[in-house]
């Protein structure tokens, strides 16, 4: 933490005394002043709520789709054999390139932002759910069969708990991806949220304000990550946590 403070002080000194003159680089004190204005006017809160809301909603929907489809593909060798390559090929296409297509189809709208966030978030959940389900040791399923569990009970009591660590890894990856895509969509398409705040400040040539939004976006990333890490700690036995740390 002290390093951060030291960096900020160094930055302030460099800019204030024009030791390092970089055009458009605001001093930390200017950024703080801009942040204060933006917080007091309520502008930042509204944008933050929008971005968090879309990210969370899109992530939630992507998780449901990803886990459902992942369970199906993980449990049914037939479905896996006749579709996995299609998913692998589609997944390889960088989701960013779908932004222009989504803009053409949905226009500058909330729908476009949400569709992008969901699309990007589905992949990590899907792939990690499939991986988690398929790597369950066969003995574990035999136990389920021996206990004469029904198919649904087997999924609920054997498959899901065993695949949970891997699924959580997917969920965490998906959350950061959803945030990135929400911000990209706001920057180029849907005129709302933090991404739009960034672009507006950039276009208005208000570097201090722009840095405010960059910092807020970073803090949001940290907050989302640590929320999910705490949730995982509550959900998982400690031996499975190591996998998540990476």
């Amino acid at each position: 933490m002290s390093v951060l403070v030291a960096l900020a002080v160094l930055w302030e000194v460099l800019v204030r005394f024009k030791i390092a003159e970089v055009q458009f680089l605001p001093a930390p004190s200017e950024i703080a002043a801009a942040a204060q204005d933006e917080i007091l006017s309520g502008e930042i809160l509204g944008r933050l709520v929008h971005t968090v809301g879309v990210t969370a909603l899109g992530w939630g929907i992507a998780s449901v789709i990803g886990m459902g489809l992942g369970l199906l593909l993980g449990l049914s060798p037939l479905a896996y054999r006749y579709s996995m390559t299609s998913f692998e090929v589609t997944r390889a296409i960088p989701p960013i390139t779908f932004v222009p297509a989504a803009l053409l189809i949905f226009g500058f709208s909330l729908k476009m932002e949400l569709v992008l966030v969901i699309y990007g978030g589905v992949w990590p959940v899907l792939i990690n759910t499939i991986g988690g389900v398929r790597s369950i040791p066969p003995e574990l399923r035999d136990v389920g069969r021996m206990l004469r569990l029904s198919r649904l009970e087997t999924i609920r009591k054997v498959v899901l708990p065993a695949a949970l660590p891997s699924v959580l890894v997917g969920l965490r990856l998906a959350l950061s991806l959803c945030l990135v895509l929400a911000i990209v969509a706001e920057m180029v398409g849907n005129p709302a949220g933090l991404g739009n705040g960034l672009i507006s400040a950039r276009q208005a040539l208000q570097p201090a304000l722009m840095f405010v939004y960059v910092i807020v976006a970073g803090l949001l990333g940290v907050a989302l990550n640590s929320t999910l890490r705490t949730a995982a700690k509550l959900l998982l036995p400690s031996n499975a946590l190591k996998e998540l740390a990476s």
């Binding site: 680089l25 390559t85 053409l104 180029v188 990333g221």
Partner: protein, 249 residues
């Protein structure tokens, strides 16, 4: 791709076939796949494709290369010294969580719309997996390894190059594999957002001039680049890990 995985392509082929049958080439949203390829060359735009692909690959390659050098160096420093690790911890935590898209407006304002700006953004995004994998690779090394180097009185540089680097190589390569798709996505992102050269800029241009077929064609090209690059990196990783197994035998 083995023949075993071929049946898995059926849904994709069926989808594209259905799209071809139901879609019209003039649809503003879903132009039929057969119209994609010709759309690359209409209005004399064909000459832009190859330079754009080369631009994208250059930015991606240069960014990944610099990220690797920087990530490995910083990763070893942090892995070797606990104090360094603790000092930079919060700064890195923040920088890592920062959505790369948010860096782009800042980078364009401070560095301008040019090639170095693109590379800087790619490096800032692709650095983290390499750095983190390297530092945890160093921390997980058996202490006897470094003790041996010390008792052999190896100099510091020799310890790093002869002992440390070879033993964390698999961790570094794993980091590079994770960083590869990130670097490619961020290259396309920064090209799209800033319209400075490359495939990403072309997709953006096709979108703004309402050429949906061209957008889809460029999406396919981006997908092909990604498939090729990722399988290249995976085969390098396989090579490295196989050599490691050979070492142990």
């Amino acid at each position: 791709m083995s023949t075993r995985s071929l049946p898995g392509l059926l849904p994709l082929i069926a989808l594209l076939g259905l799209w071809q049958l139901l879609g019209s080439p003039d649809s503003p949203f879903f132009p039929a796949p057969s119209s994609w390829w010709p759309a690359l060359f209409t209005r004399g735009q064909g000459a832009k494709i190859v330079p754009a692909v080369l631009d994208t690959i250059r930015t991606f390659g240069l960014g990944l290369f610099i990220a690797t050098i920087l990530g490995v160096t910083l990763g070893i420093l942090i892995g070797v010294s606990r104090q360094v690790g603790r000092a930079v911890g919060p700064t890195f935590e923040f920088a890592r969580a920062l959505p790369p898209a948010a860096i782009v407006p800042v980078a364009t304002l401070l560095l301008g719309f040019d090639e170095p700006m693109k590379v800087v953004v790619v490096v800032l995004a692709a650095l983290w997996p390499i750095l983190l994998n390297t530092s945890s690779g160093v921390q997980e090394l058996p202490p006897t390894l470094l003790d041996t180097a010390r008792s052999l009185r190896l100099s510091r540089t020799r310890t790093v190059f002869r002992v440390l680097l070879p033993s964390v190589m698999p961790a570094i390569v794993l980091g590079i594999r994770v960083a590869t798709p990130i670097a490619l996505v961020i290259t396309l992102l920064v090209e799209y957002l800033t319209a400075v050269n490359g495939v990403g800029a072309l997709v953006g241009e096709a979108q703004r001039t309402f050429q949906p077929a061209r957008v889809y064609a460029l999406i396919v090209i981006a997908g092909l680049i990604s498939l090729i690059v990722n399988s290249l990196v995976r085969s390098v990783e396989d090579g490295v890990s196989r050599r490691r197994v050979g070492d142990r035998l």
